[in-house]
């Protein structure tokens, strides 16, 4: 149909999935301030062509340096869950004291600066003790501190302003701070940037920084984890006070003047910068880099407003509006980000399945339903939880995975005794024995592991090559599913999807896109590389005994294909069964040279149709609750036996659906078929009429043991 053709190309050409993948990245938080910066640059660049000249830029870096110092302190305080409004007054007091100590009192400028820094830290300490130790409200406490320090500054100003302005600080370094630039950048900005880098390092790499973020993220949890919450909070205010004083010192160097409007409203400006950058009020989220971005934006805006010569009030109006907008975006974004992400991440695409084969009780069809599996004897009922894969060793011991992270062994000959063979820590999805009898395991969410005969668990691989254009990090393995081992020892294993975590595996079905891949682990050099990608939930893998190819099942694709990893057809994929009526899972060898394959669920016309309607599935995901979505049927299935030409030799079902309604794994061993199911509470054992009673899997792979 023409509309199908259109839909197919529309979804082939437009990569919808990148929206959700970008949203899932943490750097997307920086996108809004960055956009803001670009807009500010464009608007004011157009209004004020002279703004981007070298002179004007270096002038702006002087302001930016002072702002950045104050903003760094405020960022640290906010990240720890507080707020410091007293910075504006501390800034003013530092300016005054610096000029007084360096000028009138005549201290060397370095000593004076140290004294001023200590004074800033001391005011911060008072804040810190009140807020951290006495647990006062940060907002009001620092507001009061703002008033007190401002009043003290005003009092001093009234009495001593004449004396102070009459004496200048004389020192070459002071002159340098005041007037010189380094490559057009003010020294204050360089100092601020260096401190920003240091703060970034401390916050992201060192223990005190982690403590600050932990306290901001959750005070109670931090306390329970043994962090001294009170001291951490107190410390942030000390830092903030000292940094505000440092900014005041640079201001003193720059202007050497006193005024009763110094630092007035600075706290609002700085707060705007910090919040605009994307540091969240309330703590726990933010970064120094964001603050740098926010400061640059605010400096450009305030500077431009001054140059535009607008009436008084304009800058209050603009800053207040930006502040409100930034906070509103921050609050809404924090609240809805997870919801938005969960919904926009699912990106369905067009997928047309081949016509549905008839499955009924009519005896002449290849998939004729019967009740053969209803008679399978149960093993370990209630002792296993979701044995996705089962395997038997040469001695006849039965191994299976389990949802609780163990590999469980039932001892030969009667499989009555259960023991935990190894604790692996993840959901075991694929099992295979190698030549020396070690058990190789695919663990969902973890990767490829090996359990030696001495029961030692060794990690073989949990990452592969990262593809350059993938937005999600596809180097880590999210869902290693099934594996098989080539005669030369290379391990080929499937990773069902790179876009979903283990517990969301079924959502991958809604996308209808090939998100999975097959990876080859080479034990000779320990490397892993992707050999086949873009497959629809590749699941079972089974070596063909020709030594150059294997079969693999694509669950959502409802097909079984053959991949040549060696030989003349190397790299080619051939279809074996393109049109299964159900969703295939693991594939394993049969004693007569054919292959067994477990069917985990059956196709249904409604879901098949939905796969051709990506828009419908998108609507569904966006508009209704996750529990109500249309999922593929995972309730009924069976076992098929097929040959390499794709002919169905036999099919086994549990028509009653009591013991093995669906099957994810099958192993033949000495005339019996062992059945596993990911939703089942048992392993089944079915006697195959006429099967070779001596045939074992390890024997078929590695030959009889001497």
């Amino acid at each position: 149909m023409a509309s199908d053709l259109f839909t197919r190309w529309r979804y082939k050409l437009v990569p919808d999935k990148i929206v959700g993948e970008i949203l899932s990245k943490s750097w997307v938080d920086n996108a809004i301030p960055f956009l803001f910066l670009m807009i500010a640059l464009a608007v004011f660049g157009a209004l004020l062509p002279s703004m981007f000249t070298a002179g004007s830029m270096s002038g702006m870096t002087r302001t930016a340096g002072e702002y950045l110092l104050v903003a760094l302190g405020l960022t640290i305080v906010i990240m720890a869950g507080g707020i410091d409004l007293s910075v504006g007054s501390v800034f003013a007091l530092a300016n005054l004291s610096m000029l007084a100590l360096g000028g009138v009192v005549g201290l060397p400028w370095g000593v004076a600066a140290l004294v001023v820094l200590a004074m800033g830290g001391l005011i911060g300490l008072v804040n810190g003790v009140l807020i951290g130790y006495l647990r006062l409200r940060a907002f009001l406490t620092t507001l009061v501190m703002l008033i007190i320090v401002r009043a003290v500054t005003d009092t001093l100003l009234l009495s001593y302003s004449k004396d102070i302005t009459s004496v200048q600080i004389m020192s070459p370094v002071w002159e340098f701070l005041a007037f010189k630039t380094v490559f057009g950048v003010a020294p204050s900005f360089l100092v601020a940037l260096a401190l920003a880098a240091l703060a970034h390092f401390v916050l992201t790499r060192l223990r005190p920084g982690w403590h600050i973020l932990a306290v901001g993220g959750s005070r109670r949890a931090a306390h329970n984890a043994g962090i001294d919450v009170r001291r951490t909070v107190c410390l942030t205010y000390v830092i903030s006070g000292a940094l505000a004083a440092a900014a005041g010192i640079f201001y003193a160097a720059r202007l050497a003047s006193l005024g009763n409007d110094t630092g007035l409203g600075l706290e609002i400006t700085i707060l705007t910068a910090v919040v605009l950058g994307g540091t969240s009020l309330g703590g726990g989220r933010g970064s120094v880099f964001k603050t740098v971005l926010g400061v640059i934006i605010v400096v450009i805006i305030t500077n431009s407003l001054i140059r535009l010569g607008l009436r008084s009030g304009a800058s209050s109006l603009v800053l207040g509006t930006i502040l409100l907008m930034a906070v509103a975006i921050d609050v809404r974004w924090l609240k809805n980000r997870a919801k938005l992400l969960a919904r926009s991440y699912v990106a369905p695409t067009y997928f047309a399945l081949p016509p549905l084969q008839k499955v009924s009780r009519a005896p002449d069809t290849p998939y004729a339903i019967n009740d053969l599996l209803s008679d399978a004897e149960p093993i370990g009922v209630g002792q296993v939880d979701g044995p996705e894969d089962v395997i038997l060793d040469a001695e006849g011991n039965l191994y299976c995975g389990s949802r609780d992270g163990d590999i469980i062994r039932f001892l030969a000959p009667d499989h009555k005794v259960r023991e935990v063979y190894a604790h692996i820590g993840g959901s075991t999805l694929g099992l295979a024995f190698d030549r020396d009898g070690s058990l190789l395991v695919c663990v969902g969410g973890m990767g490829l592991y090996k359990v030696t005969r001495a029961r030692e668990v060794i990690k073989l691989s949990d990452e592969t090559t990262r593809s350059w254009l993938s937005i999600v990090d596809d180097s880590r393995m999210r869902l290693a599913d099934d594996l098989d081992i080539a005669p030369d020892g290379r391990v080929f294993f499937s990773e069902a999807t790179i876009r979903y975590e283990m517990h969301d595996w079924i959502i991958d079905a809604l996308e209808g896109r090939g998100n999975g891949r097959i990876i080859c682990y080479d034990p000779r050099d320990g490397s892993s590389r992707t050999v086949l990608s873009g497959r629809q939930f590749p699941n079972g893998i089974c070596m063909v005994p020709d030594g150059q190819s294997f079969l693999f099942a694509e669950t959502w694709g409802c097909r079984i294909s053959r991949f040549y990893y060696d030989g003349p057809k190397r790299g080619r994929v051939e279809a074996v069964i393109p049109d299964l009526p159900g969703y295939p899972d693991n594939i394993n060898l049969a004693s007569d040279g054919n292959f067994w394959c477990g069917i985990i669920g059956m196709r249904a016309p409604a879901f098949d149709l939905a796969q051709k309607m990506p828009k419908f599935r998108k609507h569904m995901v966006m508009q209704i609750a996750r529990d109500e979505w249309l999922y593929p049927n995972m309730n009924t299935g069976g076992v098929i036996k097929f040959d390499l030409s794709g002919k169905i030799v036999q099919s086994l079902w549990d028509g009653v659906g009591e013991r093995h309604p669906q099957v994810t794994s099958i192993r033949e061993h000495k005339g019996y078929l062992y059945l596993g199911g990911i939703f089942n509470n048992r392993i089944g054992r079915y006697k195959i009429p006429g099967a070779d009673p001596e045939w074992t899997g390890p024997g078929a792979y590695w030959g009889a043991k001497p």
Binding site: G81, G82, I83, L130, L134, R135, L136, R137, A138, F139, L140, T141, L143, V144, I147, I148, R150, A151, V152, D154, T155, L158, S218, R219, R220, L264, G265, I268, S280, L281, G282, G283, L310, R311, S312, G313, A314, S315, S316, L317, V318, L319, G320, T321, L323, L324, V327, A328, V331, R332, K335
Partner: protein, 327 residues
Amino acid sequence: MSGSSGRGRFGQEEIIFAIAVIVFGVFSVMVPDFLSAGNIVSMVQSVSVLGILGLGMAITILGRGVDLSMVASMSVAIAWMLVQLNAGAPLVQALPMAIAFSVLVGIINGVLVAYVEIPAIFATLAIGVTVYGFGKFFLVESDVNHLPEAWRWLADMVAARPLGVPVPVIAFLGCAAVAHLGLRYLRDGRFIYAMGDNPIAARTTGVPVRVMMVLQYVISALIALLAGLIMTMLVTSMNTRIVSGTLVYDVILVVVLGGISLSGGRGGILSVVVGTLLIGIMLNGMTMLNLTYTAQNVIKALILLLALVLDTLINPRDEQTAQQGDI
């Protein structure tokens, strides 16, 4: 839920009242003329405006909010009204416009707090800055705006003293009585207490918390407007620079001092009256002692700090129900 917290024998109100009496006594000994009728009248008159503002602030704080934009919205609305009057507009046009402006500011505050979920203290601070900037940029050109001669009779009316009691004091006591009765006997008043006590429980019980929050900020903006009107009539002008002063913190001081808890739901209108009394006495006494404005600020700020410490000690913040990020 009455004013006293009921924890000890004496609630905060009683303590503050006692302190007020003591301070009054000390000042009457120390400061000559403190007890003169003229001084007492001017004292209660000047403090009435603060008290009325305190009533609005008290209502928002009782509902676990706070309104830092009161002074800004008041001064801009009144100044705009004066600008219009000076331009020849009649009062019946200028006053409703000022009222509309105040209501709008209240609604914006309420929406930002209730629906956008910005912390109240932050939203109202930013709105205060924005409203001031908006007013200065679009509505009011100069800082000081005088009441035109044609409307001086209004000022005279406010300056009148029926039965020897100044009109501002009557207004304050009237407002306090209305607010007290409203909070105690009206359904919406009880809702405000319920919200302040436990917003989530109130919401679960069926209190329209968001609508009530908007209402709360509209009320505080309107009360601020009334206070502004009285203030203007007393001095026949409005200076928009009071926005950058410390008036709004004086208002918080009055409220917190009297025993209204910043975490909401505790305290009553009586607390505002008592707090106003103490602050009024102190401001007047300090002025008469010739303390400078900045020194008075330091003293007031220290008292506020002390009140905050007391508030934290008497009404400790509950770690279990305190919200993360409640600053």
